[in-house]
Symmetry: C2
Subunit: 571 residues, 2 copies
């Protein structure tokens, strides 16, 4: 029982030296990759750079205790950082103490919400974000993030939460571009783009073995950080207008307390839920993909608890909302991480960085961090999803397009909320017309098929309708209309059979609709019958008004119904 | 084409003397019934009594032109009157000119919305009010209405929109009860209750023929009106504190203009939609029930246009929102109405009443009208629905209970909105777990059945899962989890078959889930196959990444899949 909520008890017992070696190597690689990324995402969230490092230490440790994935790496990620900036920016001004406290509160609320969902086993609610909505949202977020970081590359002040605002603000300030910053930013961006694609082949061609080549490639952002920091320091560029990170406190993550002032909680509750769900979806997708490669299982409800614990940890140690990141988890997996201990070692590496390395990044230009972000998030932008959904289904295309347009045009929160709403409405609209086929007998057999598609036998006085979906409030009335129009349009119909082989459930509304159908058919002198009602459905129907008053019969099989009813007037 | 939007062209062409006689008799009976009812419902809506008469004249005529039901009687009804009072009460004080104008605007918005829904053929959105929500809402509304009318019976001032407010307000004013009003109100209520049940048998026992006995029973409320009016007039009770209707303008419905001030429209838009949908549902249920008795067809989309036209008519002739009423339509049907012309004759009857009879109701006590309302709405209260849904399904019970409690506790609008939301959430929750059964072969046959229920053959390396529902975003991830856990828990599994015989649709999210399942199974060295994919689904899947990259095969039948895969390791 305890082991269910503490997966560490399972893998911890079997930990050995070989696993330790694999985990340690993975941790070194991930740590190198995470240092610049953590600084950059903190900047994206509007927080001081150390918040990114802090958000990667205790959360990783807590996830290692409570999470079920062997490879997931938890910490700040781009989309959640953007959502944090948007939510916290609504309640406090960037750079104030209130801003940092609000970020802690957001992490605490998000953590509490995730743990609650996990304990109540409500992970399924994440399913209501359809893939097109998620894809549209991630793509639009990537564009928004990249656009918002351009100001650091250009060395100007600019702001805004929507694409129009951001672009407008950039254009208005174009005259104040700082040329030195632009050179640094442009070079860093170009180098990072090249490093993603070209560095590893170049290193391999230069005769390096694959493993070191791989590590060096992952260290590309670190190289950009070191080179641009050196350039600023040696050339004194900070005095010439290049924005730098500046003094970052040296030390382990501090103990911090989120505020639970009612006003703040009220304002942040909805964004916290949104961040939780979006983060959970990103995290669980990565975790399941990586787990499948080793035939491991992910327990979604326990994952909620693991992520919740990580966020609570972030809230009390100077961080901000975190989740399982795609890029870092893949790197962790590829580097050979065998257990969550790899995460713990990464946390130790980052703690060392927080203790020892922060003075070294004093001269780090923010343009370099912006370049790191831009290169990372442009990998999220997938406009091809528009074409793919268009060919497959117009409804799904609409969901993608609306989500992208509204996220870009009205901001992340409105965008994703509208996407969810649209998905649900389109689904309800589709299911409000249950698939119903009129069937007849395949001659000489016991099979019954759609009369529109097959040459089948029918009887003029007998209508058999095969209901292909469960009946519930949104589609039951459609069946009422369908039966009534079929019988009033036909001539001499005396018997209607509803073939229920595909009906798994009949809710109370549908039960009343069936009663209404029976009553109306009786008024028309027509008998209603059922065939092939599934066991559990039949159990439910026993003792209801419907069966007690039904004029027709319930046949075990459609063949029985045919045998009993078809010849009635044929003689 | 024109005939589609003007059903009158169909029945009007075949109108003859016999139909005329039937319609005229029905009209006389309905007119007698409608006079006190119209006055009473106008009072319930917070409007002057003549508004109720006006709302029954032009709307009936317009419905006769545009509606498809032969028996539906359109006009003010209890629930819509309550909703009107609630919506208009939020924007203007009762008794002011603004109040009457807001009621007109509400009718105009509701009419416009209904016509729009009809033209766009969007009648299906009414289906999202499940039966339990409607039943709970109607029951709670009946209780609220009865409670709100008690003040007229007691002769005190009181108000409130929720049951607690109303009861509290009544209790606070109990000291001011007017004894004479109470005597009139109590006698009228008792008489009307008795008239509903006991009058007709008494008249029959007295030797009256059934038809006159029936007409006299329907005239019960008229008798109460006449007797109490005479009592007040002859005894001068109005001078002793009995509230009376007073002066009612004499004349045909006036031409009125609703206001379309942006503020007012914004405030009334949502209530107007709610009223439209609730009214449409009440109306269409009655219309379909009555139509079935004569094998007639109701076109739901055309009904929207008919009701919309009626409401637009009400907006421009001093009325307020109307719909097809249950009681009056049944009376109309029972009295033999054969075509919508019966409605037109009723309108003429009411026009005569508005022209000639209004001076006669000067001394009519409002307590009598309140008694009419109370007796009518208590027939709507159906608390047995709680027991019926409880035995049938807990989810439906929850929907009823929440709707009743919230409608009573927080008012009609919050109540019905919460009920709708709850219905949709419960439905989504249920559908987020698609029914999936693991199947095996019935020995010696080509049939495949659930392994938990039947003695069937299976092969240890082969897992066959029958998917019993269409796959879409909310349930696709559940399938991912299910397949992954089944394969990781099993031993030596090499092939998974998804039997798709019941899948009518696969949306883009589900397509991506199937791709993820395939990719993860491939990582585990397992092949994914499909069997019995329906034609339209297969057409969609052609050319997708899923089929292009599938390692396994698509089998026409599950039997083919079994024949190809089961013996693989058995040899």
């Amino acid at each position: 029982m305890i082991a269910r909520y503490l997966p560490i008890l399972d893998w911890g017992r079997r930990y050995d030296r070989a696993t330790f070696g694999a985990d340690l190597l993975a941790a070194v690689i991930v740590t190198i990759m995470l240092i610049p990324q953590s600084l950059a995402y903190a900047m994206l969230a509007g927080l001081p750079p150390e918040a990114g490092i802090y958000a990667s230490i205790v959360p990783i440790l807590l996830y290692a205790v409570f999470g079920t994935s062997r490879s997931l790496a938890v910490g700040p990620v781009a989309v959640v950082s953007l959502l944090t900036a948007s939510a916290v920016g609504d309640v406090a001004a960037q750079g104030t103490a209130g801003y940092a406290v609000a970020a802690l509160t957001l992490a605490a609320l998000s953590g509490g919400f995730l743990v609650l969902l996990g304990l109540l086993r409500l992970g399924f609610i994440a399913n209501f974000l359809s893939h097109p909505v998620i894809a549209g949202f991630i793509t639009a977020s990537g564009i928004l993030i990249a656009a918002s970081q351009l100001r650091h590359i250009l060395g100007i002040e600019a702001g805004g939460h929507t694409l129009i605002e951001i672009v407008g603000s950039l254009l208005a300030n174009l005259g104040r571009i700082d040329p030195v910053t632009l050179v640094i930013g442009a070079l860093a961006t170009a180098f990072l783009f090249w490093a993603r694609r070209g560095l590893k082949p170049a290193l391999l061609r230069a005769g390096l073995a694959p493993l070191p080549a791989d590590i060096l490639t992952k260290a590309g952002p670190v190289a950009a950080v070191i080179l641009t920091t050196l350039a600023v320091w040696l050339l004194g560029l900070d005095a010439r207008g290049v924005a730098i990170v500046g003094a970052v406190p040296q030390g382990l993550p501090p103990l911090t307390l989120p505020s639970f002032a009612p006003d703040l909680v009220t304002q942040l509750a909805l964004p916290a839920m949104l961040i939780s769900i979006i983060g959970f979806i990103e995290s669980i997708s990565v975790a399941q993909t990586l787990a499948a490669k080793k035939r491991q299982r992910i327990d979604p409800d326990q994952e909620l608890i693991g992520l919740g614990a990580a966020n609570l940890g972030a809230a009390f140690t100077g961080g901000y909302p975190v989740t399982g990141g795609f890029a870092r988890s893949v790197v962790n997996y590829d580097a050979g991480a065998a257990t969550p201990a790899a995460g713990a070692f990464t946390a130790i590496g980052l703690a060392i960085a927080a203790l020892a390395l922060t003075p070294l990044i004093y001269y780090l230009p923010t343009a370099t961090l912006a370049a790191t972000i831009i290169v990372a998030v442009l990998g999220l932008v997938d406009l091809a999803i528009l074409r793919r959904t268009w060919t497959y289904s117009r409804a799904d295309f609409a969901a993608v397009a609306v989500t992208i347009l509204l996220t870009l045009g009205l901001g992340v929160e409105v965008g994703v909320a509208s996407g969810v709403l649209l998905s649900i409405l389109l689904h309800l609209w589709k299911t409000s017309r249950p698939h119903v086929a009129e069937v007849g007998r395949v001659p000489g057999s016991e099979h019954f098929r759609n009369i529109d598609r097959h040459a089948v036998e029918t009887a003029p006085h007998l209508v058999t309708l095969r209901v292909d979906e469960s009946l519930y409030f949104a589609n039951a009335r459609f069946l009422e209309d369908l039966v009534q129009s079929r019988v009033t349009e036909g001539c001499g119909i005396t018997d209607v059979v509803l073939m229920m082989s595909a009906v798994n459930e009949i809710d109370f509304s549908a039960l009343e609709s069936l009663e209404a159908i029976d009553a109306r058919l009786r008024d028309m002198g027509v008998r209603l019958h059922f065939s092939e009602v599934k066991g559990p459905v039949m159990d439910r129907l026993e003792g209801t008004h419907l069966l007690d008053h039904l004029r027709g019969r319930v046949f075990l099989s459609q063949h029985d119904a045919w045998a009993a009813l078809a010849p009635r007037h044929a003689t």
